[in-house]
């Protein structure tokens, strides 16, 4: 299983490999920030002062490398803690989406019939909605019962990504289901459960890592958008880049650039990093994009030409 999951990584070469590596490096930096936030960040994400209050909207300086914003927060700390928030939420939502969407797709593709048609209809309907709109709806609905924390945010995102996994896994299942080895599985007496679990599963998850990373990239920007609108995570619950951006909207006019630049840059970088990882993987998983490495060959001069001259 691990071999199957890791094979796309190992098969990369050339440009695809560079893309993948670049993406991994960028994403890696943010992941490190996320994990080690308490130790890396100079201050807490909701900390407004240390020995006395922090200056408000102070430019970058020795004590505040990236400056402070209008809520007296240190921007660098907000960025680092924000990484934790983003990654946590996105990880949570992608995982839940996979755990729900994939088995549904597998089941639907395998069973066929009216169950399949119904599920496809539902999923297509969900998919047809603009994702941000749907996220907003869900965030709004979940705000009541769950408050404004990371879990609520994650769940709002989950719903919009389930259809993607469903569709891809379902279509791969539908084509894999006709393979000879599936028929062979039936021939040896395997129950449907077994066929789905042992025979189809491994062959169908090939594309999931790619979608997962591209999903994650999209999730980051959607989460930030939610935060921007104000439906995301509250600043006191956790640090969120989108929210910080929304607060800093008017600052640019006053010549205060650090409150918008850094959160914005963080969003852009993380999304780019994840996208690069996804595209790099895509090159290998999707054979249509893969170009055969052209190796030049030089023919050696003929050593034995003298001997083989006798011919008709």
């Amino acid at each position: 299983m691990l071999r199957v999951l890791l094979s796309p990584f190992r098969n990369t070469s050339g440009l695809a490999r560079w893309i993948l590596v670049a993406g991994l490096v960028i994403t890696g930096i943010f992941v490190v920030c996320a994990i080690f936030a308490p130790w890396i960040a100079p201050y807490g994400f909701a900390q407004t002062g240390e020995h006395g209050r922090f200056p408000k909207m102070a430019p970058p300086s020795a004590t505040h490398w990236l400056g402070t914003n209008d809520q007296f927060f240190d921007i660098l700390s907000r960025i680092i803690w924000g990484a934790r928030t983003e990654i946590t939420v996105v990880l949570l939502s992608v995982i839940i989406a996979v755990v729900v969407g994939m088995p549904l797709g597998l089941f639907s593709g395998f069973i066929g019939g009216w169950v399949d048609r119904l599920l496809v209809f539902v999923m297509d309907a969900l998919y047809a909605f603009p994702s941000l709109l749907l996220a907003i709806v869900f965030a709004f609905l979940l705000r009541g019962p769950l408050g404004g924390g990371t879990v609520a945010a994650a769940l709002s995102l989950t719903a919009i990504y389930i259809p993607q996994y469903f569709r891809v896994v379902r279509s791969t299942t539908v084509s894999a289901r006709e393979a000879t080895y599936v028929e062979a599985a039936r021939a040896i007496g395997a129950k449907n459960r077994t066929v789905m679990g042992r025979y189809l599963f491994g062959n169908v998850i090939q594309s999931v890592p790619v979608i997962g990373t591209l999903n994650a990239a999209d999730a980051i920007s959607t989460l930030a958008a939610l935060g921007f609108i104000g439906l995301g995570i509250q600043p006191t619950d956790a640090s969120e880049w989108g929210y910080d951006l929304s607060r800093a909207l008017d600052d640019a006019q006053s010549g205060i650039w650090w409150t918008t630049l850094f959160p914005g840059l963080a969003i852009v970088l993380l999304v780019t990093g994840l996208t690069l990882v996804g595209e790099g993987l895509n090159e290998t998983v999707n054979p249509a994009l893969r170009k055969r490495r052209i190796r030049k060959v030089r023919l050696p001069s003929r050593a034995s030409s003298a001997l083989v001259e006798e011919r008709s």
């Binding site: 060959v297 030089r298 023919l299 083989v308």
Partner: protein, 353 residues
């Protein structure tokens, strides 16, 4: 067998290949798909090229037409009607392909555009090479060649999927021939077809020379087809042609052990016992040294593993590359230790094809 063996052997051969090499790159090193192959083909002659999978025959077929993937290196001499094709610039090759050099592929459905009618296929083919040809003339020539193939004119405006497998292959042949190329390569044209349809197609290919005077290189792994339809046969193994001669002669009196073993392991209606060749066709990156066949050869001698045999011509006209054959014909003198049978390792199932 038709008297084609006598056809135009005296005239200039249509295709004359000498010491062709086609290598392409891989992670482990150059793959020597075609390694110093020579043959010639007279006008109206059918040459069968047989070998198992992985022997390089398809590569050779494509190489002759210049259809190799990028990064492949090819050298040697390939004379087509006297002119060396290897020194012809790509643009010119494009013009000649189709008009003078034709190709028939294995899977007809995948080679025909499902969105184009047959008439449009013909129009495209003819217009590419003869610009300014009128629609009526296209139709006339197309119908003429379709007639030869047994495809009725009522189907001229049908789509490819409306034809059955055998008809599609005839269609492919018709498209290949409408420009009257003098040389056609047919790469496994009947492998995907049923026995009865295969027989029909082979008959059509066999009669081609009567209608069109085409020289045909028929690539296949099916020895039976070669025996029935070809004038001469070339047996290919690990990138080399190990035996080349008149089809009747080669089948009745094979000189190379591989040819012999291949014939023996072919299951036909007359088969009484099961024979097979142990082991698998060799890796083309690092084939066995000297004679490539020696690990699997029942007649292998010590010399076969150390020195590569040279191509010699038998009395019957067959060309063969084999020490055992040379010895049997008295063409060479070998010392006792050279003649000693080669001790080989037992080939286990782990190495089989």
């Amino acid at each position: 067998m038709a008297s084609s063996a006598a056809i135009a052997r005296g005239g200039q051969p249509v295709v004359d290949a000498r010491d062709l090499r086609i290598w392409y790159g891989s992670e482990r090193g150059p793959v020597k798909a075609v390694d110093e192959v020579s043959f010639d083909l007279a006008k109206g002659e059918i040459l069968g090229l047989v070998g198992e999978s992985g022997c390089g025959k398809s590569t050779l077929g494509r190489g002759l037409l210049g259809l190799l993937p990028p990064g492949t290196a090819m050298d040697g001499a390939l004379l087509f009607e006297g002119e060396d094709l290897l020194s012809v610039p790509r643009k010119q090759m494009l013009a000649r392909r189709g008009a003078e050099l034709g190709m028939i592929f294995q899977e007809p459905l995948t080679r025909l555009n499902p969105l184009m009618r047959i008439s449009q296929h013909f129009e495209e083919t003819l217009r590419t090479h003869e610009k300014g040809i009128s629609k009526d003339e296209v139709r006339e020539r197309a119908l003429r060649v379709l007639r030869v193939m047994g495809i009725p004119p009522t189907r001229y405006r049908s789509y490819p999927h409306e034809f059955s497998g055998g008809m599609r292959q005839r269609l492919m042949i018709a498209l290949a021939l409408v420009l009257r190329p003098s040389f056609v390569v047919a790469d496994e044209p009947t492998t995907a077809l049923d026995v009865l349809v295969e027989a029909q197609i082979i008959r059509i290919l066999h009669d081609l020379r009567r209608e069109f005077e085409t020289s045909l290189l028929l690539i296949t792994h099916n020895l039976g087809i070669v025996a029935e339809a070809c004038d001469r046969v070339a047996v290919m193994y690990a990138g080399k042609i190990v035996e080349l001669g008149d089809a009747r002669e080669v089948f009745a009196r094979p000189k190379h052990p591989y040819t012999r073993e291949l014939l023996r392991s072919t299951i036909s209606l007359r088969t009484t016992g099961l024979n097979y060749i142990p082991g698998a066709p060799p890796d083309l990156v690092e084939p066995p040294p000297a004679c490539h066949f020696h690990p699997r050869c029942p007649d292998a001698m010590q010399i076969c593993a150390t020195k590569a045999p040279l191509e010699q011509t038998e009395a019957s006209g067959t060309k063969v590359q084999c020490w055992a054959a040379d010895l049997a014909a008295g063409r060479v003198e070998l010392g006792d230790d050279e003649r000693a049978p080669l001790v080989r390792e037992e080939i286990s199932v782990a190495d089989e094809a």
